[in-house]
C-alpha cells in the first residue's frame, strides 16, 4: 500500500520544480559546484513540465545589449512602469544584465531563434521580445538540466519543506511522495531552491466545465511555489498583485505577436476604438500614471472592462487587414501552434479565419504568479554588489529563511522575467546556493525525524480517509464525511471569485467581502483535514489543493492590507478606489505563523533607480 517504503535522498543543493527556473538552477549549480550533489525533484516529467509544456513562440525578456538595443536600466524602467511603480529594481537590474547570456546559450543548445533578414539580428517582436520556433523549448532546456543534475526525480510531489532541527529559521530539506509507487521521499539538503509553479485555479475560471482545463497559466501550477515557503515562515510580497490577462476568447491565445508584429488593434462590438474614451476614468483613479508610456497592462485592461460594462462589447482584435499578408497570416497561426494550441482549435472549431472575421478578446480570471506582468512571491535578498541594505541579508535570491532560495514564479518583486528571465533567476539562485553551501562549513542542517514522520502520516491521510469513509455510502461522489479534491477546488474557486475579486464580481473587492471570504477560507481549510483520495493521482490533487488554499489565504491577507487601488484592471477596492502613493507606494510583506494561522503584515520600502520619482512628502 502507499507509503510502504521510505526513500532518503541527500544532496548539497535540492531544486524543487523542474520548470525553467529549476532547470536554470540545476545548470548553474553544477557549473559552480563541480563536486556538489545537485538533485532536482519534479512533480511531473522534466521533459515537458511547467508552463512551457507546449512551447513558446517568443522570448519576452531579451535586452540585446550586443546590438545596443536595450540596457538593464531600460528594463527596470519598463518593469516599474508596467507595475505602477512597485518593483524590486535591484532584482530587475540583475535579471536584465544576465539574461542575454542565457538566451545566447539557448541558441547554442539548439533553440531556433528567428532572425531579421535585413539586419541579421534576432527578429524582434517588440522592444523586449524576440521570436523563436519554440515547440521544443522545454525538451532542449530539460536536456541541459538532466545532464547537470546528479539525479532528476520525476513524479515526486513535494508537499512540505523540512526545517533544520538544530538552528531555527534554517531549511534542511523537503518531503513528498511518489505519484506512481506511493513511496515516501525524505530529502535532506544543505540548500533548497524552490522553483515550483505559481497559482492557477484559485479563482473560478470563465469556463467551468471541461473547459476549466484551458486556463491561461498551466493548470498544474498549483501554488506550490508559495505554499512551501509560506508554511515555514518565509516573508512573501505583493501577493495581492494578481494578474488578469486580455487574450483571445476561450482559448486564451496570446496577443503579443498580434499587437507588436502584426500591428493589429482592438475595437468594441460596434467597430469603434474605445481606449481614449476612458482616459479620464483612469486619471481619476491613478492620477499622473495615466501619462506613462507604454500604457501599463492593467490600465489597458481597465479600459477594456469599462467598455464591456458600458454594454459595448464584445471587444475584438482587428485582424482582417493584417492577415491578408501571407507572412503575417503564418505568424498569426504559428503563434498559437507553438505556444497555445488550444486557440487554434477554438478557431478551427468555430470556422474563424482572421482574414474574414475579427476574433473576440476576453479578460481572464485572475492568476497569482511572479514571472509575467505581475510580481507576487517570496521576498528575496538582492545582488551583493549594489542592492540597498534593506534588500539584502546575505545571498542573492535567498528568502528570509536561511538556505531557502527561489527562482521564477516563486520570487516576488521581479515581473516580466518570462522564460529566459526565470531560467536566469534560477542561475542566480544556483550560484548563490553554491556559495551558501560552501560557507556552511562542517555544520550542515539536519532534518528532524519527528517532523518528517508526523508529516508522513498527514501526507497519506486522504487515502485512508477515503478507504474507510467509502464504506458509508453505496456509490457515487457524494459523501458526508470526506471531501473530494475537485469539490474542494471548486469551493475554493467560488470563494475567491465571489469574495476576493474574481470575474463574477468584475474584479471588485472591499473589506466586508474579504472578511466574509476569510471566514469561508477558514472553514475550507478545516475541511481539508477530511480530504479523501481514492488513488495516488487524487492524492496529488489533494496536496495541490492544500497548496492553493494556503496561497489563497495569503493573497486575501495581502489584498486586505493594501488600502488603495494600485492596479485598476487587475482588481479594484470599492472602499479605497484610488491609487494612494503617499501611503502605499511600498511593498506589502506578510509572514505566516503555522501555529496560529495568522499573517503578520508590514510595509517595505521601494527603492528607485536613477529616475526622479516625486516624493510623496507631506
Amino acid at each position: 500500500m502507499a507509503g510502504k517504503k521510505t526513500v532518503f535522498v541527500d544532496s548539497d543543493i535540492l531544486v524543487i520544480g523542474g520548470g525553467f527556473g529549476g532547470c536554470g538552477a540545476a545548470y548553474e549549480s553544477r557549473y559552480w559546484g563541480r563536486d556538489k550533489k545537485v538533485v532536482v525533484v519534479e512533480k511531473a516529467n522534466i521533459e515537458r513540465s511547467g508552463a512551457v509544456a507546449q512551447g513558446l513562440y517568443a522570448i519576452n525578456c531579451y535586452m540585446g545589449m550586443r546590438w545596443g538595443e536595450n540596457e538593464p536600466e531600460d528594463y527596470v524602467r519598463y518593469q516599474r512602469n508596467d507595475l505602477m511603480g512597485l518593483v524590486r529594481e535591484d532584482l530587475g537590474y540583475d535579471i536584465g544584465r544576465h539574461v542575454d547570456s542565457t538566451v545566447h546559450k539557448f541558441e547554442e543548445w539548439g533553440l531556433p531563434i528567428m532572425t531579421d533578414p535585413a539586419t541579421g539580428r534576432y527578429q524582434r517582436e517588440g522592444k523586449w521580445q524576440i521570436m523563436i520556433h519554440g515547440e521544443s523549448y522545454k525538451p532542449i532546456v530539460a536536456e541541459a538540466a538532466r545532464k547537470a543534475a546528479d539525479a532528476v526525480y520525476n513524479r515526486i510531489m513535494v508537499t512540505h519543506l523540512l526545517m533544520d532541527k538544530k538552528k531555527p529559521n534554517r531549511v534542511a530539506g523537503a518531503v513528498g511522495f511518489n505519484v506512481r509507487t506511493g513511496d515516501f521521499y525524505v530529502f535532506q539538503s544543505k540548500a533548497v531552491i524552490v522553483a515550483a509553479g505559481g497559482a492557477s485555479h484559485i479563482f473560478k475560471p470563465h469556463s467551468a466545465g471541461e473547459g476549466m482545463g484551458r486556463t491561461w497559466y498551466a493548470p498544474w501550477s498549483s501554488a506550490s511555489a508559495y505554499a512551501l515557503p509560506i508554511r515555514v515562515g518565509a516573508k512573501m510580497t505583493q501577493m495581492e498583485n494578481r494578474i488578469v490577462l486580455t487574450r483571445f476568447k476561450d482559448g486564451y491565445g496570446p496577443v503579443g505577436a498580434y499587437f507588436l508584429h502584426l500591428k493589429t488593434y482592438t475595437q468594441n462590438g460596434y467597430g469603434e476604438p474605445y481606449e481614449p474614451a476612458w482616459r479620464q476614468s483612469i486619471e481619476d483613479m491613478v492620477g499622473d500614471y495615466v501619462n506613462h508610456e507604454p500604457v501599463p497592462t492593467c490600465l489597458r485592461n481597465h479600459a477594456f472592462l469599462k467598455e464591456v460594462e458600458a454594454g459595448r462589447g464584445p471587444i475584438r482584435m482587428v485582424t482582417k487587414e493584417a492577415f491578408k499578408d501571407p507572412h503575417k497570416e503564418i505568424v498569426g497561426w504559428e503563434n498559437f501552434l507553438g505556444m497555445t494550441i488550444g486557440q487554434a482549435v477554438v478557431w478551427a472549431a468555430n470556422n474563424i479565419d482572421p482574414k474574414e472575421v475579427n476574433p473576440e478578446l476576453v479578460m481572464s480570471e485572475p492568476y497569482v504568479m511572479g514571472s509575467h506582468a505581475t510580481c507576487s512571491g517570496a521576498w528575496a535578498s538582492g545582488p551583493e554588489d549594489y542592492a540597498p541594505d534593506e534588500y539584502q541579508w546575505g545571498y542573492n535570491r535567498m528568502m528570509t529563511v536561511d538556505g531557502l532560495f527561489g527562482a521564477g514564479d516563486t520570487l516576488g518583486g521581479t515581473p516580466h522575467k518570462f522564460s529566459s528571465g526565470s531560467f536566469t533567476e534560477g542561475r542566480l539562485a544556483g550560484k548563490a546556493a553554491n556559495k551558501y553551501v560552501d560557507d556552511l562549513g562542517t555544520n550542515p542542517p539536519e532534518v528532524s525525524e519527528d517532523e518528517y514522520l508526523e508529516l508522513k502520516e498527514m501526507i497519506y491521510q486522504p487515502l485512508e480517509t477515503y478507504r474507510v469513509g467509502r464504506n458509508e455510502i453505496t456509490a457515487g461522489t457524494v459523501s458526508p464525511t470526506y471531501l473530494l479534491p475537485l469539490s474542494g477546488l471548486q469551493r475554493l474557486e467560488k470563494i475567491m471569485d465571489e469574495y476576493c475579486g474574481g470575474v463574477g464580481q468584475r474584479y471588485m473587492v472591499n473589506e466586508p467581502l474579504m472578511m466574509r471570504g476569510k471566514e469561508l477560507l477558514k472553514m475550507l481549510k478545516e475541511d481539508l483535514a477530511n480530504l479523501g483520495a481514492d488513488s495516488l493521482h487524487q492524492l496529488q490533487r489533494a496536496w495541490e489543493l492544500h497548496h492553493r488554499v494556503l496561497a489563497s489565504e495569503c493573497v486575501t491577507a495581502h489584498t486586505m492590507f493594501r488600502e488603495e487601488t494600485r492596479w485598476p484592471g487587475y482588481y479594484y477596492r470599492g472602499d479605497h478606489p484610488k491609487l494612494d502613493d503617499k501611503n502605499w507606494h511600498c511593498f506589502t510583506l506578510s509572514q505566516y505563523d503555522e501555529r496560529t494561522g495568522e499573517f503578520e503584515m508590514e510595509k517595505a520600502p521601494v527603492y528607485h533607480l536613477v529616475d526622479d520619482v516625486k516624493q510623496a512628502a507631506e
Binding site: N45, M65, S101, I140, A144, G213, T215, A348, V613
Partner: protein, 173 residues
C-alpha cells in the same frame, strides 16, 4: 482541448503516461489502453499527442465552448527537427504549417561540468557561467552602485504605521 485515444491505434506503450505534465494520461483498466482520466485538467498541451509513437492520440475542442467537426493534428519528427500541423475547420477548410524545432542533435548539449572549472575570481564575482563572453558585448558584466538608488519615502504618518498588522485567518471579532 482535451485529448482522446484511438482504440485501434494505441498499443499500450505508456509514453503518454510518462510525459503528461498534468498526470491525467493513464491506463484504462478494461482495455489496458491509454485514456485521459481528467479532461477538465487537460491543458491541451499536446505533449501526449506528440509523444505517441503510433499517433494514436488526438484532441477535440473543450465541450463547453468548441463546436464539433474540427481536427488539429500534429506530426513531430525529432530526427528531422520539424513539427508539422494539419488543421481542419468545421466547414472543411484546411491549413498546414511546418516549423523547425531544433537546430542541433538531440543529446548534444555540453554538460555544465565539461567546461573548465571556474576560477576563484569568477566564483567571487557577480558573473554567471560563460560570462562575460556569452553576453557578446565588448564590455564586462554591467553593474551599478548602491548610491544610484533613491528610497521612496511614504508620508510620515504612514511610515510610522509600519508596525505590523495581524491579519488572521480566524473569523473577525
Amino acid at each position: 482541448m482535451p485529448t482522446f485515444v484511438y482504440m485501434t491505434s494505441c498499443d499500450g506503450c505508456g509514453h503518454c503516461v510518462d510525459i503528461c505534465p498534468s498526470d491525467i494520461m493513464h491506463i484504462d483498466p478494461v482495455t489496458r489502453r491509454a485514456v485521459n482520466i481528467e479532461p477538465n485538467f487537460c491543458w491541451d498541451c499536446y505533449s501526449c499527442v506528440k509523444a505517441c509513437p503510433q499517433n494514436a492520440i488526438d484532441s477535440r475542442g473543450y465541450a463547453d465552448f468548441a463546436p464539433m467537426g474540427h481536427s488539429v493534428r500534429v506530426l513531430r519528427e525529432e530526427d528531422k527537427g520539424t513539427i508539422s500541423w494539419r488543421l481542419k475547420f468545421r466547414d472543411g477548410r484546411e491549413k498546414h504549417f511546418e516549423s523547425p524545432i531544433r537546430t542541433t542533435a538531440w543529446g548534444s548539449i555540453k554538460c555544465a561540468s565539461e567546461y573548465e572549472a571556474p576560477s576563484t575570481e569568477a566564483i567571487n564575482s557577480q558573473e554567471l557561467a560563460h560570462e562575460p563572453d556569452y553576453l557578446k558585448t565588448d564590455q564586462g558584466l554591467p553593474s551599478i552602485t548602491v548610491d544610484q538608488f533613491i528610497k521612496y519615502e511614504l508620508a510620515p504618518a504612514s511610515a510610522a504605521n509600519k508596525k505590523s498588522k495581524k491579519i488572521s485567518t480566524q473569523a473577525a471579532e
